[in-house]
C-alpha cells in the first residue's frame, strides 16, 4: 500500500495529460461507435470504463481489444443503413480512433513518473494531427469518389480499395519479415 501511494505521488503532470488524452479520445471513439438503437446510460458507462482501462494500461492488449470493440460497434451500428452516415461523422470517427491509438502508443512509451520535455508532446501531437488531417482529406476524396460512382455505400469500390490496401499491407508485412530473417 505504501509503495502504491509512493508511486501515486511520483506521477508527473505530463503523463497525466497524455493518459487523459488517451481517455478522452478513446471515450469519444467508443461513443461514436455505439449504435443509435443502443444509446443509453449503460453503454456510455461501459465506454467510460473501457476508456479508463485503456488510459490506465496503455501498454497492454486491452487497448487493441477496446479499439477493436469500438470498430465492431461501428460496423454493427451502421450495418444496412450506410446511406444515413454523414462524411463528417465518418472522418471524425476515423480520426478520433487513430488519435486514441496514437495517444496510447505515446502513453505506453513514457514512464508514469517521467519528466517530459514539452517538445516531445508538441511534436508527437503535431504529427498525429497532421496524419489524421491528411487522412481525413484522403477519406473525403474517397467518399466523394464513391458517391460519384455508386454512392457512399458503393460495394464494388470498397471491395477494390480494401483489396488494394490489403495487398499493400501484405507487402509491408513481407518486407518486415524479410528484414527480420536477414538480421
Amino acid at each position: 500500500m505504501t509503495k502504491f501511494l509512493e508511486a501515486i505521488s511520483r506521477i508527473t503532470p505530463a503523463t497525466v495529460l497524455v493518459r487523459g488524452l488517451v481517455f478522452v479520445f478513446t471515450f469519444i471513439a467508443l461513443v461514436l461507435a455505439i449504435p443509435s438503437f443502443m444509446f443509453g446510460v449503460t453503454p456510455l458507462s461501459v465506454a467510460a470504463l473501457a476508456a479508463l482501462v485503456t488510459a490506465l494500461a496503455p501498454g497492454t492488449r486491452m487497448v487493441t481489444i477496446v479499439l477493436a470493440a469500438g470498430l465492431f460497434g461501428w460496423v454493427a451500428g451502421w450495418l444496412g443503413r450506410l446511406g444515413e452516415l454523414s462524411a463528417v461523422q465518418l472522418v471524425l470517427f476515423g480520426s478520433v480512433l487513430f488519435l486514441a491509438h496514437s495517444s496510447a502508443s505515446l502513453a505506453a512509451l513514457i514512464p508514469f513518473d517521467a519528466v517530459v520535455s514539452p517538445e516531445v508532446l508538441l511534436r508527437w501531437y503535431l504529427r498525429a494531427f497532421a496524419i489524421a488531417g491528411g487522412s481525413a482529406l484522403v477519406g473525403l476524396v474517397l467518399i466523394v469518389g464513391a458517391s460519384l460512382t455508386s454512392g457512399i455505400n458503393g460495394t464494388a469500390l470498397a471491395s477494390l480499395a480494401g483489396l488494394a490496401a490489403a495487398a499493400g499491407l501484405i507487402a509491408v508485412l513481407v518486407r518486415l519479415l524479410r528484414r527480420r530473417t536477414n538480421n
Binding site: 508527473t12 501498454g59 497492454t60 492488449r61 487497448v63 487493441t64 479499439l67 477493436a68 470498430l71 460496423v75 451502421w78 450506410l82 452516415l85 465518418l90 472522418v91 470517427f93 476515423g94 480512433l97 487513430f98 491509438h101 496514437s102 496510447a104 502508443s105 505515446l106 505506453a108 512509451l109 513514457i110 514512464p111 513518473d113 517521467a114 519528466v115 520535455s117 517538445e119 516531445v120 511534436r123 508527437w124 504529427r127 496524419i131 491528411g134 477519406g139 474517397l142 467518399i143 464513391a146 457512399i152 455505400n153 458503393g154 460495394t155 464494388a156 470498397a158 471491395s159 480499395a161 480494401g162 483489396l163 490496401a165 490489403a166 499491407l169 509491408v172 518486415l176 528484414r179 538480421n183
Partner: protein, 450 residues
Amino acid sequence: MPGGDPPPEETSHDWHPTKALGRALVLVGLLLVGAVLFGRIDLVVIAVPFVASVAWGLSRRPRTVPGLRLATLEEYAAEGAELTTTLTAANRDVVAYDLVVARTQHSAWLTLRSTNGDKQPDRPVVAALNRGEAADVVLKGPARRWGRHSIGPAAAVAAAGGGLLACRAVVTGSLGFKVFPVTEPFAAVEAMPRAAGLVGQHRSRRAGEGGELAGVRQFGPGDRLRRIDWRTTLRTRQLHVARTLSDRDAEVVLLLDVLTEAGRSGGIAGEASVVDTTVRASAAIAEHYLTLGDRVSLIEYGANDRRLRPASGRRQFMMVLEWLLDVYPHQVVRVAGGSRLSAAISPNALVVVMTPLLDARSADMIAGLARAGRFVVTVDTLPAGIGTQTANAWTPAAFGIWRLERANTIGQLREHGVPVVSWQGAGSLDLVLRDVARMAGRAQGAGVHR
C-alpha cells in the same frame, strides 16, 4: 571522468516493433477484411490514418541506438559536499527519435536532483532528439554519508517512426565515488603516555633536546655551549645550562570494533549510528595525531582482520580515509586475529578503542589489552538516545537491565584502569589522556625504583 559510452552499432536488429505497430496492423487488417467482406467504403476511410502512420513510420527506420554517456567532475568528495553528474543522450542516427527515455540510478546516500526542468530527483527524463542532436541532464546534489557510492548504471530507450519502433535499452557502466568522512573537530593537548621515537611534537617526560623548558642546572661535561643560561650564570657566577624536555613522536593505534551496528544512520545532517561515529571519530583522531607528526595505525576488530600499518604524514591520512571507507559491521562467531591482538600492538602505543560495548568480546578484548600493559582509551560509540521498540510489557524492564549490565561493564573497565568516554568531538579525550599519561609516568617511576 569518462563514463560508459558504448560505440555506435550499425545494426537494425537493435530496433524492434512496439505493441503500437502490432495494434495498427491488427486494426488495419480487421478494417480491410471488413471492407472486403461487407463491401463498406467507410471501413477503408477509417483505415487510412492507420495505414498512413504505418507507412510513414516504417519509411523512416532508424539504424543506430542512441549514444549514452555518464560523466562526473569529481571522483571523491567529503560528506555534505556537492557532486555533479551529467547524463548525455545523443542521436547518432540519420532519422529523428520521437523520444528518448533516459534514467540513472544512484546510491541512496546521494541526493541528486536534476538542475534543468523541475528539480525532481530520481526520475526518468523524456526528450525528443533530432538527427545529430544531444541532450544533457545535469544531476547535482550532496553526498549525505561517507562510503563508496556509485552513480549508474544509466539506461536509455528510444522510440522512432511514430512510436512504432523502439530500440533495445542502452546501458552505461557505473561511476564510483569515494565520499570521505567529515573529520569532526578534535584536539587533544595532553601529553602522550609514552612517546617512542626521537622526533615529534610531544613534550616527553624525559630530559633531552627539545623546546620545552624543564629547569636550570649546573653545567656538566657534554653540555652544549648554546644551552648555557647566561642570566643564571651571571647571577650565581657558575655556569648553568637550561634543561629541556625532549620532543618525541608517538604511535597511536585506532582499534575499531565493528562487531555490531546500532542506531539509525541519518547522514551528515542526521543521527549517527555506531559505525558512523566510529568512522568519523577515527578520522578526526587520526588527522589530529598525524598533523602532530605521530604514527597512526588502524586495526579492525571484527570478521576481517584488516590492518593499516603505522605511518605518519599527509599520505597516511589519505590512506586512513581510504581504509575507513571499507568499514562494515559484521556479526561473526569468531573474531579474526582477536587472540594475537595485543602482540601486534607496540607496548608504547596509545590504543584508542572505538566500541559500542554491545558485545561481551569487545570488553574482554579491552581488558586483555589493559592486562598486557597497553595504554588503552575507550571511546563509547553507542548513540546517546538509543532505545528499543516495545514488543511487550517486559521490554522496558529488559532494556533497563541491559543498560545496567552495560554500565556495569564500563565500571569494571574503569576499575581495570581503562577510561571510557563518549565521543563528543573536540576535547573528548583530553581528560582521559591526562589520566593515562599520569598512569604511564607512575609505571615508569616504579620501573626505575626496581
